[in-house]
């Protein structure tokens, strides 16, 4: 097992790596190495990473298939946008507060929806979450203060690259540390065998709702970022299509692999922009990808593999030193992009 010093070292290593990554991104953006348009694409990349990793928590780690992730995103988006538009505080205060409120609102909805829905298994759960997602959309469409079908306009453009970066890091860190804890193991045990989990003393209902609302929380945050990036919101943006788009990212990357979600969310956000004229075929390619991946590699590109900087450096080191393999204690690993 890992020693204390080793663990501390890993935290330091990952913190340094995260800072370096942030520095590199800002350097590339500020120096004009990539054009402004591409730089702004980093924001959708960021919120899609949050959406994919958070959906991965309920689809990959909990093993359920919710089809209403866009619904939670929309709740976060509208709550956050309405909040920042209503209050009159400095941006540095109201935006983080708004994101948090949006996340909490989405999480609450996650609990309200999750409590009844998670009593059902598999396909029924998928369909009931789909139903809830549609109901959320119809409600937003019919409310006055959400702007109805016209949507919300004039939302302040608060979402910047550093803000998104911080949110992504927090999301990945929180989901990762949750999974590598007793709560996370309880969630995994439900995916593996619900009856055995119950028989081992795990309250499966509690942990299902927990994972579900945790995942909704981050979807809500992503929604808030999205709202303050586009500055306009309409209920049409959050249909079943959006939920499936997020699902494609998770499935392609690998159900249960955080790194997979990060890589595929990045790739699937950037690819259509890089290949002009491709947009017409985008959804066709998405759906084909979904079917082909399921048939030929149901575990996705990365399976359940997760990247760990500490382990990887250790392995590289051991190749050079030609010593015996480093210990494979995975439990305290840190992975982030």
């Amino acid at each position: 097992m890992m020693t204390k010093k080793n663990v501390g070292g890993r935290y330091l290593l990952n913190t340094v790596a995260t800072c370096l990554l942030f520095g590199a991104i800002m350097l590339v953006v500020e120096s004009g190495l990539i054009n402004r348009y591409m730089a702004m694409m980093l924001i959708p990349v960021g919120y899609n990473i949050i959406l994919a990793t958070s959906l991965n928590l309920s689809a990959g780690f909990l093993g359920q298939l919710p089809l209403g992730h866009a619904g939670f995103m929309s709740i976060g988006a509208y709550t956050c946008a309405l909040f920042t538009m209503a209050v009159d505080m400095p941006a540095a205060v109201e935006f983080p507060l708004g994101l948090l409120i949006g996340g909490v609102a989405a999480a609450l909805c996650g609990v309200i929806i999750g409590l009844p829905a998670l009593r059902l298994r598999g396909d029924y759960l998928a369909i009931i979450t789909l139903g809830f997602g549609e109901i959320i959309r119809v409600i937003i469409l019919n409310l006055d203060f959400t702007g109805g079908a016209f949507g919300l306009k004039g939302i302040p453009k608060y979402t910047t690259i550093p803000v998104v970066f911080v949110c992504v890091v927090i999301t990945i860190f929180a989901i990762h540390t949750l999974i590598k804890s007793r709560h996370g193991r309880a969630i995994l045990s439900i995916r593996e065998d619900e009856i055995a989990a119950e028989a081992s003393g795990i309250s499966t209902t509690y942990y299902k709702v927990l994972a579900f609302s945790f995942s909704a929380f981050f979807a809500g945050i992503a929604g808030g970022l999205y709202a303050h990036y586009l500055s306009i919101l309409g209920p049409a943006n959050f249909g079943f299509m959006k939920s499936v788009e997020i699902l494609v990212m998770v499935v392609l990357g690998g159900l249960g692999s955080m790194m997979g979600s990060v890589v595929s969310a990045t790739a699937l956000t950037l690819l259509p922009e890089l290949l002009r004229g491709f947009s017409e075929y985008r959804m066709i390619v998405y759906s084909l990808l979904l079917v082909i991946v399921m048939i030929f590699k149901p575990s996705g590109l990365f399976g359940r593999y997760d990247f760990s900087l500490g382990d990887s450096l250790g392995k590289i080191g051991s190749i050079f030193r030609r010593k015996k393999k480093p210990e494979q204690g995975g439990e305290n690993d840190e992975s982030d992009s």
């Binding site: 193991r185 045990s189 055995a196 003393g201």
Partner: protein, 258 residues
């Protein structure tokens, strides 16, 4: 006199008009090893499913250390002290051996979700402790060296033993073993018998086991209950049961029928 740890009276369940089990009574004392035998379909696993609240009984009551378990959820029953293994092994196959055990140690750890996410000291302390406990438990079954292997990759016999280790990790008063020796060779079975004795003494628990391997049942059980068509047809010491004509008839009848 000491009151029994597990007191079951007049337990019964119907499946769509069919009486799967009726008038099942048993009192189990601390540290007792009780065998549950009977032909296929006699209702043995149904008893376990009722004891762990997987099925809701149609009649009767179950009390564990004086507490009524009626209406409790499965995990609550486990927490109050009944642990089990499954006839058709139900491990968390894709998780590591040690994680299988640590999942069952879940309720023994008390750190909150916030402490876990922020990695506060209590997280580190309790995780370290539970890792040590899990390894110790695995060591009882000579499996500590397999801690990081995925549970699904273990050979059959080891999977059965891991299931027992996992059940023990919930800190039970009563352990229910559903065909623990199924698929084991004679030497593995012998080893298992020693282990069962050992864990009974080590953890101070009562054990009820369902088994078809008569050498095992007769070898370690202090008392045996024989079920047929959902009814207890005989009970007593291994000697008594072995010589009971009703039992012989039930088994021979079954053989003729097969």
């Amino acid at each position: 006199m000491m009151s029994p740890i597990l007191d079951v009276s007049h337990l019964g369940i119907d499946f769509g008009g069919l009486q799967a089990l009726d008038d099942f009574n048993i009192q189990v004392d601390a540290k007792e090893i009780v065998g549950l035998i009977g032909p296929n379909g006699a209702g043995k696993t149904t008893v376990f499913n009722l004891l762990t609240n997987v099925y809701k009984p149609s009649r009767g009551s179950i009390s564990l250390t004086g507490q009524d378990t009626r209406g409790k959820s499965i995990h609550a029953v486990t927490q109050s002290g009944i642990a089990r293994t499954f006839q058709n092994i139900r491990l968390f196959r894709d998780l590591s051996v040690i994680d299988n055990v640590k999942i069952a140690l879940h309720n023994g750890m008390k750190y909150t979700m916030a402490e876990a996410i922020l990695r506060l000291p209590r997280y580190w302390k309790q995780e370290k402790e539970s890792t040590a406990t899990a390894l110790k438990l695995l060591d009882v079954f000579n499996m500590a060296h397999l801690a990081n292997e995925p549970a699904g990759s273990l050979p059959y016999g080891s999977q059965r033993r891991l299931e027992i280790a996992r059940a023990l990790a919930t800190n039970p008063r009563v352990l229910l073993l559903d065909e623990p020796a199924a698929g084991m060779n004679p030497s593995e079975t012998q080893e298992l018998m020693d282990t069962i004795h050992h864990i009974r003494d080590m953890f101070d628990i009562a054990i009820i086991l369902i088994e078809h391997d008569m050498s095992l049942v007769m070898g370690i059980c202090e008392r045996i209950l024989v079920l047929n068509y959902g009814l207890i047809i005989a009970q007593g010491t291994p000697e008594e049961v072995r010589n009971n004509p009703v039992v012989i008839e039930a088994y021979l009848g079954q053989q003729r029928g097969e």
